[in-house]
């Protein structure tokens, strides 16, 4: 097996960078740990779940999707260059890797075994190009905090869904085992070269993440409780920002807006979220989701009901970022637990 000393993650990053990879990895940045492009000298920090997911490296916050040259009142289309560098997402989280499989269903329909209307042809070229160019190497979590709930949504601290290779802490945290799981992972191991030694090490046990609610029960309850008063109660604390959606590895809603100078116009795809009141506001003034309760319901329903119905899986991997970062102290796992309990109470 391929092993490396626990303090040599940066050497691995350096070797991969030298082999032509853009390495993105969790690096401490002030008070936060942030997944960002690794630069020589940066220390990779796997001690906590980073504030951002790897989503933004495959689906950027803003992206040019069309471009026009403007001349007076005339315009002409210009080519769009999609940036899809060969990337290694190193020492990221298993819940992030799993999320990319969920996003494939949206951006690469048809190929991910998703039922879709006949002849649906709209795949996202930019997503697919970046996905293809990215090798995802999560690190098995050996510690979890009270906001982690991957095991409640079908994941695990050592899950390998979406992973091309996996790093495991070994020998009591002194070493990492790097295990390739597919051709992209093997290519990455080969590119890492001598940084990885052939050796033996005993993998440390993964973190214990208690199951906090029954996701199937939540899905079931959501199906029949669109009008439940519970939505109004649990969403009282929601202040209506997009913190939860933008740190979420599976949230993928976006806006399309134009921006222009006198000579050039770009059509931009920007992240957007159902949590903001403008999201569904019609130009007539009508808003189908007029209050935060209906917007919060949409968030939970989309992840635990609609997505299940449409794509056959939950749109949540239990990373817990939304709970850690919510300015209103909300936690989706807590709400799911309440739903689970409400359902049990109703059955009795």
């Amino acid at each position: 097996m391929k092993v490396l000393d626990a303090n040599k993650l940066s050497d691995l990053a350096a070797a991969l960078a030298a082999a032509g990879y853009r390495v993105v990895a969790p690096v401490r940045d002030g008070r936060e740990i942030r997944v960002q492009e690794w630069k020589p000298g940066a220390a990779i920090d796997t001690s906590a779940v980073p504030v951002n997911s790897i989503k933004e490296f495959l689906f950027p916050r803003c992206e040019v999707i069309a471009r026009y040259r403007l001349e007076g009142d005339d315009f002409s289309p210009e080519p769009v260059a999609t940036d899809a560098p060969k990337t290694a997402a190193l020492a990221v989280r298993p819940c992030d890797a799993a999320a990319m499989v969920i996003l494939d269903k949206v951006f690469n329909p048809g190929t991910a075994g998703v039922p879709w209307p006949d002849g649906w042809e709209y795949k996202d070229d930019a997503w697919n190009a970046r996905r293809e160019a990215t090798t995802i190497v999560p690190v098995v979590c050996t510690a979890a905090d009270q906001d982690c709930f991957c095991t409640s949504v079908g994941g695990a601290p050592d899950a390998t869904a979406g992973a091309d290779a996996v790093l495991r802490s070994a020998d009591g945290g002194r070493k990492f085992i790097l295990q390739p799981l597919g051709p992209k992972g093997q290519a990455l191991v080969a590119a890492a070269g001598a940084v990885l030694a052939e050796g033996d090490a005993k993998a440390d046990p993964p973190a214990q993440v208690p199951v906090r609610f029954d996701a199937k029960a939540v899905t079931e309850w959501c199906g029949g409780n669109f009008e439940s008063p519970l939505w109004r109660e649990v969403s009282l604390a929601c202040i209506g920002c997009g913190a939860c959606a933008y740190c979420c590895p599976t949230c993928h809603c976006f806006d399309i807006q134009d921006e222009a100078t006198r000579t050039e116009s770009v059509r931009l795809r920007n992240w957007d979220t159902c949590g903001l009141s403008l999201f569904t506001l019609h130009s007539s003034g009508h808003n189908p989701r007029p209050d935060q309760a209906s917007r919060w319901r949409q968030r939970v329903m989309h992840k635990f009901s609609y997505f299940v119905e449409k794509f056959g899986s939950l749109a949540c991997t239990g990373c817990g970022r939304c709970a850690r970062l919510c300015p209103g102290g909300m936690a989706i796992a807590q709400v799911c637990k309440e739903i689970d309990e409400a359902r049990k109470a109703a059955v009795k």
């Binding site: 403007l70 260059a81 399309i256 134009d258 009508h286 009901s305």
Partner: protein
């Protein structure tokens, strides 16, 4: 690399017409024959597209012209925001962008031989105008055709020339109405809200398909009347217009429950709507 999904066709405005205060129709010709051919290969009545002006953005409207007219497409829209203002300010000869057609369509092939009742309110006539013309262009294939169209005021009625044309045809029964107070001294149509006038005219539901489109408040009060008149929910069609950005089932904006209006709609039967979370509409 080009992002095929978001690639728009270049369109030239060949005709622009003001329909009502702030309501404008643009007739667009495809600059490239390949784009035109691709469009009409796919286009069925009821589908929509995204019309854009670089620098302002894209807006979603139904294609208001029928697939039986293959040289151009038309759209009719109200000037309400940044994009619609930019579109409205474009002049004949200038260009706009278009991508589509997207969404599903009215199954008019299955309606052959049946009576068809169109009910529309205000700016919601354009989405079913394409159906009306499609049916009229193939008039012999259908039985009775009735149109009930209402608007807030006489000035707000769109397609006035076409209303006159439909009204003068022997093979179309047209009823126009304006809201109380919206009439002019020389107004010859009815006065009253669409649901009320529908109830008064009480069209037969036998062998009849109803196609309804209007603002949410009109829909809300019209559907019960149709039910009362005996229309089975599976024979009542409507087209939803939620806010959309991508048009292709990704951006998550047009969700009504698990339904993506852009992908699973915009055409729904009342039967389908009943199973949907209409509170989210």
């Amino acid at each position: 690399m080009t992002l095929a999904t978001y690639q728009s066709a270049m369109m030239k405005i060949v005709l622009a017409r003001d329909e009502a205060p702030d309501v404008r129709t643009l007739r667009l010709r495809f600059a490239e024959e390949a784009d035109r051919a691709r469009f009409f290969q796919k286009y069925r009545v009821g589908m929509f597209g995204l019309y854009g002006v670089p620098g302002a953005g894209e807006s979603t409207f139904c294609v208001a012209s029928p697939p039986t007219r293959t040289e151009y497409i038309e759209c009719t829209f109200r000037r309400t925001g940044r994009v619609t203002a930019a579109l409205a300010d474009r002049e004949v000869g200038q260009a706009v962008t278009f991508r589509g057609p997207y969404g599903n369509s009215f199954p008019i092939e299955a309606w052959k031989g049946k009576n068809i009742l169109f009910i529309a309110g205000g700016i919601a006539l354009p989405p079913i105008r394409s159906v009306i013309w499609n049916v009229l262009d193939r008039r012999k294939e259908f039985a009775d055709v009735s149109i009930l169209y209402g608007a807030r005021t006489v000035a707000d009625l769109v397609y006035k020339d076409e209303l006159a044309e439909w009204g003068s045809r022997q093979d179309v029964r047209l009823v126009t109405t304006v809201d109380p107070g919206g009439e002019t001294p020389d107004w010859k149509g009815r006065i009253g809200f669409v649901p009320t006038v529908l109830e008064q005219t009480a069209p037969s539901s036998a062998h009849t398909i109803a196609v309804v489109c209007g603002p949410p408040i009109m829909i809300k009060f019209t559907l019960p009347v149709l039910t009362k008149l005996g229309f089975p929910p599976k024979d009542v069609y409507t087209t939803l217009e939620n806010r959309m950005k991508c048009g292709v089932g990704q951006c998550g904006r047009c969700n009504v429950g698990s339904v993506y209006v852009c992908r699973d709609g915009p055409v729904f039967t009342l039967e389908q709507l009943k199973g949907m979370l209409t509170a989210d509409m």
